[in-house]
Structures are given as C-alpha cells and as structure tokens.
C-alpha cells in the first residue's frame, strides 16, 4: 500500500515505523524537524517537510497515487481539513483523521470521514475497567455516549 501520514507525533511516528517495516510505501509529512527524531534511525519511508494543508506539499508526498491518507496532527480542524482535501480533491480511497473533540469527530464521521477519537476510546475503556467489565470493541468506544450530547 502507498500511505501518506500527516503529523509525526507519537501516533504518526509509530504508525509510520510499523507500516514501513511491514513493507508499505510510507511518506510522512511534518513541518517541525525536531519531531522527526521520533522516527529513529531505521525508518525506511520518505519524509517531506512542509505544511500538510498545502496541495503542492501533498502532491510531493504522492497523495495522487496514495491508497490511504491519515491525518494525525495536534489540531482537530487541521486534520479535518487535510482529510477532506485528500478525500474530495485527490479521491484517496481510504482517509482517516484523528479528532479529539467527540462531537466534531461524530459530525464528520457521519459525513464520510473516518474519524478516530482518542478521548472517547480512552474514557470508554477506563469505564469498562472501572466496572470490571470485559473490554468492548474500538468501534463501540468510538461512539459519542448520550451523556456527552449536552
């Protein structure tokens, strides 16, 4: 698979290293050179330094041929905008975005961007642990519970 990952935070770096080691063609976009140290010395993928909302940078990263695009920066809105560019502009078949605000994550999931909400997944998992219940699936965790809908 050809995978473009935006954001070399902990998740982005881990995903890039694992997928590259598994033989996929990984390109990582990151604008802060210091973050790239997370990749370690053995990363076999490509790195593009630049702004992930810039079409030229995305093209340089090979988004036009990508099978998958993953937006993992610290900014929810940045991830959502990048994901929409990848999906609607470049027709990338599989687009995933990290969104920390549960409500916004759900809003965009309903409109075709696959969003992953760590805060929902983490809190739901801890709740199951608190009640000594068997752990649920990520799909179940990734849904906004009624308590959070105002």
């Amino acid at each position: 698979m050809r995978i473009v990952i935006l954001g070399c935070g902990r998740t982005g770096a881990a995903l890039a290293r694992i997928m590259a080691a598994e033989g996929h063609r990984v390109t990582l976009i990151e604008w802060n050179n210091d973050s790239l140290e997370r990749l370690g010395g053995k990363f076999t993928g490509a790195v593009i330094t630049g702004n992930g909302l810039d079409e030229d940078v995305l093209k340089k990263a090979g988004i036009e041929q990508a099978d998958m695009f993953v937006a993992l920066t610290e900014g929810d809105n940045r991830n959502l905008m990048a994901a929409q560019i990848a999906k609607d502009r470049f027709r990338v078949p599989k687009v995933i975005a990290k969104v920390n605000d549960p409500i916004r994550a759900e809003a965009y999931r309903e409109r075709g961007i696959y969003t992953i909400c760590y805060s929902l997944i983490g809190s739901a998992m801890i709740r199951d642990l608190a009640y000594d219940r068997p752990l649920g699936s990520v799909e179940e965790y990734n849904v906004v519970p009624p308590e959070l809908k105002d």
């Binding site: 079409e55 929810d76 990048a82 409500i103 916004r104 809003a107 105002d150």
Partner: protein, 222 residues
C-alpha cells in the same frame, strides 16, 4: 439581519463595529478570555466567549436563527470547520470564510462554503490591474459557480465600438448583462450597438475571463 462573527482579531473587530453601526444585530465570538474582557467594554452583550468550531457554542449563540456566519480567525482550517458546522448543523443560509492562503479558495468552494474572502488575493488583483492598465476589473467570484463579474469601460480605440452585441466574438460561457451609457443603465439586446465610453458589465466563467478581456481591449501593437 443577525450576523455571527467568529474570531475577534482585527478583521472580526472592525467588521463587528461596522455592522453594528449599520444597525445589524451582531454577535462576536472569541475564544481568548483576555481579548473578550477587553472587547466587552465596547461591545457589551455582543461579545461571547467560546469556540465557533464547537456545536455547543454555536447553539448558545443562536446560530439556528443567524442569517450569516462569518469565520474570520487567522487559521484557514478553523474557518473551514466553523463554516461547515454552521451550515450542516444550523442551516445558516450564508457562510463567509476568511482565507489566508489564496490557494485554499477553490478547496473551500469545493467543500461547500458559500463565499470566501482572501485579502492576499484582493491586494494581488489590485496590483495586477495596476500593471494591466485596469481595463477589466473582476468584481467578485460568484459563489460556487466560479463565475466572475467583469466591468469593462470601452476606450475609443476598442475594436468592438460600433459593433452590435450579437456580432461580438464572445468566448463560451460569457453573457453581457448590462451596458452603462452616460450614467444610464440599459439592458442590451442583440442589435444594441456599442459606443465608446460605454461600460459593459458581463458575467463570465473564470477560465474564460482573459479571453473576454481581449475582445474588448484596444488592440496592442506587437
């Protein structure tokens, strides 16, 4: 009209001030507490602290009864999400987003934002017109159709002076909608004859604008 402005930087601040003076109902939403406190002295109830990209804030702001939501923070991605949430969740009839990187204009249009404003682009167009002697002025990109309104003043040496509208070699997707002659606006017919000093107002698809410009411009010597 009820207008919600998200982002109280310089653009949002002066826009709110101008709209309030014009008698509109305005709510200025700003996420920074200190900025809000500062603005409250001047705007009172018309300032609200919160994040315009959060559905809860927009509900509190009464977005479902807003006529226009203007997203004018300093970040394009925030302005996009603010506008989309306003549209999807509150059916706001018109959303306007400020754009910093002019290349985002077409992306925003593709993603459903009604209107975008890029100060970079406006200044660039002003400079470009200066250089090209300003015979054709793009007034506004018409919503999502990517259509421009152009206003051309015919010089005495324009090749179309004395010609009938129906005989003009117009590019495809171009329509002459109005002719202003000696300060009177008239709706042209096919047999209307163009005169020097007429102002011709036309709608044209953005990609054919340059071609339309050539039709009216006086011939350049090679």
């Amino acid at each position: 009209m009820y207008i919600i402005i998200v982002g109280a930087g310089n653009v949002g601040y002066y826009l709110a001030k101008t709209l309030l003076n014009a008698g509109h109902e305005v709510l200025l939403i700003e996420r920074d507490k200190r900025r809000c406190d500062l603005l409250r002295d001047e705007f009172g109830e018309s300032v609200m602290r919160g994040r315009g990209d959060e559905i809860r804030t927009m509900r509190e702001a009464g977005a479902d009864s807003a006529d226009i939501v203007v997203a004018c923070t300093g970040d394009d991605e925030d302005n996009l999400i603010i506008s989309q949430i306003a549209k999807w969740y509150f059916n706001v009839p018109r959303t306007v987003a400020r754009i910093n990187d002019p290349r985002n204009e077409s992306i925003f249009q593709q993603l459903g934002i009604d209107a975008t404003v890029s100060s970079t682009n406006i200044i660039y167009h002003l400079i470009e017109q200066e250089i090209e002697a300003g015979e054709v002025i793009p007034l506004a990109a018409l919503k999502r159709g990517n259509i421009e309104i152009v206003d051309v003043e015919l010089s005495t040496r324009s090749p179309v002076v004395g010609k009938r509208v129906q005989d003009l070699p117009l590019p495809p997707d171009a329509l002459i909608v109005c002719i202003i002659r000696q300060e009177n606006a008239m709706l042209p017919h096919g047999d209307t004859v163009l005169e020097a000093n007429d102002s011709v107002i036309a709608l044209v698809s953005a990609q054919n604008e340059r071609q339309l410009r050539k039709v009216f411009a006086e011939e350049q010597e090679e």
